[in-house]
């Protein structure tokens, strides 16, 4: 009962955060909402005993992404003047598509059998398992992702350096 309440509480945080992100007129409030949403997701991971994932979610998204977003937003001039973060365009076309998408999701949710593994995994540390599977079964995707990250890093360095030569 309490556990279910906890779940709904976390889900509420996540959804509310997402709504604030989507509908807030103020970019900083949006970023703040995003953070709440991320924290909610981290809570949901924790709720599902995925402790390592929850912590990584916090480090990467709250400590990294949200801070970077806030950081970037603060460099934007006249944040208060900007009344809407994104313009609402093509409302006519978007509405039926969104409605259809929501319908599909709701329809699918009723047909799929969710298997609960919560009892089995309860209170076992996941760090070791994640590490093991990353370096055994999933070593190829792991390496591919690292190559991708390397490319991103090099690209970032390239962009940053190019700019500097222009400046001086």
């Amino acid at each position: 009962m309490i556990v279910v309440l906890l779940f709904y509480f976390l889900a509420l945080i996540t959804v509310l955060g997402a709504l604030v992100t989507a509908f807030s007129k103020n970019i900083v409030h949006s970023a703040f909402g995003l953070m709440a949403s991320m924290v909610g997701v981290a809570g949901l991971y924790g709720y599902m005993s995925a402790d390592f994932l929850a912590i990584v979610q916090l480090i990467v998204y709250v400590g990294g992404i949200v801070v970077l977003i806030l950081f970037a937003v603060m460099f934007t001039g006249d944040i208060r003047e900007v009344k809407s973060s994104n313009k609402t365009v093509n409302l006519l076309w978007a509405t039926p598509f969104i409605a259809a998408l929501i319908g599909i999701i709701i329809g699918a949710e009723g047909k799929v059998n969710f298997v609960s593994k919560t009892t089995k995994l309860h209170n076992t540390p996941t760090t070791k398992m994640i590490g093991d599977s990353l370096l055994s079964d999933y070593v190829l995707p792991f390496e591919v992702v690292s190559v991708l990250l390397l490319a991103v890093l090099l690209g970032a360095v390239h962009v940053a350096r190019k700019y500097k030569t222009d400046e001086r």
Partner: protein
């Protein structure tokens, strides 16, 4: 990306208001900063918050009564301001000051110069975040103020000098105390240096910052330790000696790129800092000489009750702690000056800021203000 010019990227600059009650503007100075992020485009000084119309007041006061106001021009080196005014009026009147009084004047002026430099270098350190060295200096300054208090009864604004002499004689026990303190003071200065002056962070913060070369200094009329840090060996005490400075033996320290190992050049903030430190050593040396050679005798020349200088105008420069302090006095033959103008070191240093500050960080502006040792009432008067 390459076709984006710098101007398009930095299309907007931030206008920051620094002061008048910003912690590192030493009194009430105001800067309007145009910055690009943390990097300064310009820092436009806005002065006048401490304008107390001292020059206007002087026009309605007899010559001797103006002494207390000179204290307020530079509260950190009030004796030097006193001295400057006394020298100017005496030269205008043609009064000969007794030798003992001259010695006492030089003694108090040098003591106050040390006290002023202590605050100058200490507050520079505290602007950079090191608070302890500042308090070390304040501790030593208290001793100096104690002795000055013994001599003239006040600690900050003395009104000690009179036209033609000084108000009270120097007692032998005070002289002994001062001599004893000088020994400890030199040691304490060494302690201060070891604490902060050779600190790597401190060196790196000041080396190459707010460089003012000799040419800029002369153009803007920057004087005193700031000028000497730029490499020009000019000191009013040596070049246009007044009082008994021509009898004394002391050196004039100049900037030699003291922080050269960390990228410093002549005339940077570290040189200004170091020149002040070395000047303190020289002042200690002068105090020792003065106390050794001080003659017995009168301390007050015979001056008429009502001072009526001849018609004319005079400019007398002296060396205050913040550089050349000169009084330009117009006399119309009455006992009040027709017009009196005080030339101060901080004023000219301040006027150069708009040019100096370009291209540095906000944090560097703070160290620049500290290294020029600007005192707000000197700028505004």
């Amino acid at each position: 990306m390459s076709n984006i010019t710098e101007k398009e990227v930095f299309f907007d600059e931030m206008t920051l208001n620094m002061g008048p009650h910003h912690p590192s503007t030493h009194g009430v100075l105001r800067f309007v900063l145009k910055t690009d992020g943390e990097i300064l485009k310009t820092a436009i000084p806005d002065v006048g918050f401490l304008h107390r119309s001292i020059e206007k007041i002087a026009e309605s006061l007899p010559y001797p009564q103006f002494f207390p106001y000179t204290d307020r021009v530079d509260y950190l080196a009030a004796m030097n301001a006193n001295h400057a005014y006394a020298v100017a009026v005496e030269k205008l009147l043609g009064i000969e000051v007794p030798e003992r009084a001259e010695y006492i004047r030089v003694l108090v002026a040098e003591m106050n110069r040390i006290a002023s430099h202590m605050v100058g270098v200490g507050s520079l350190a505290s602007d950079l975040g090191a608070f302890t060295p500042f308090l070390f200096n304040l501790r030593d300054r208290e001793y100096l103020y104690d002795y000055l208090e013994e001599m003239c009864g006040a600690r900050l604004t003395y009104n000690y000098l009179s036209i033609g002499g000084v108000h009270r004689d120097l007692k032998q026990e005070t002289a002994d105390k001062i001599l004893k303190f000088v020994e400890q003071g030199i040691k304490n200065l060494d302690e201060f240096n070891r604490l902060i002056a050779y600190n790597k962070i401190f060196l790196r913060r000041l080396a190459g910052v707010a460089v003012v070369n000799k040419k800029t200094c002369i153009e803007y009329g920057i004087v005193g330790p700031n000028l000497r840090a730029a490499g020009l060996k000019y000191d009013v005490r040596k070049d246009q000696p007044y009082s008994i400075y021509d009898k004394l033996d002391f050196d004039i320290p100049v900037g030699e790129a003291y922080a050269a190992s960390d990228g410093g050049v002549i005339g940077d903030a570290y040189d200004r800092f170091m020149v002040r430190i070395k000047e303190m050593e020289q002042s200690y040396k002068i105090i020792k000489q003065v106390l050794k050679e001080i003659p017995e005798g009168e301390i007050q020349a015979k001056v008429p009750r009502k001072l009526k200088p001849p018609v004319g105008d005079i400019y007398v420069p002296t060396e205050s702690a913040r550089g050349e302090m000169g009084y330009y006095i117009f006399s119309d033959g009455t006992d009040k000056p027709w017009r009196l103008k005080i030339r101060t070191g901080s004023f000219s240093a301040m006027s150069a800021f708009e040019e100096i500050s370009n291209g540095y960080f906000i944090a560097d502006l703070v160290s620049a203000i500290g290294s020029f040792d600007i005192v707000a009432p000197e700028v505004d008067r």
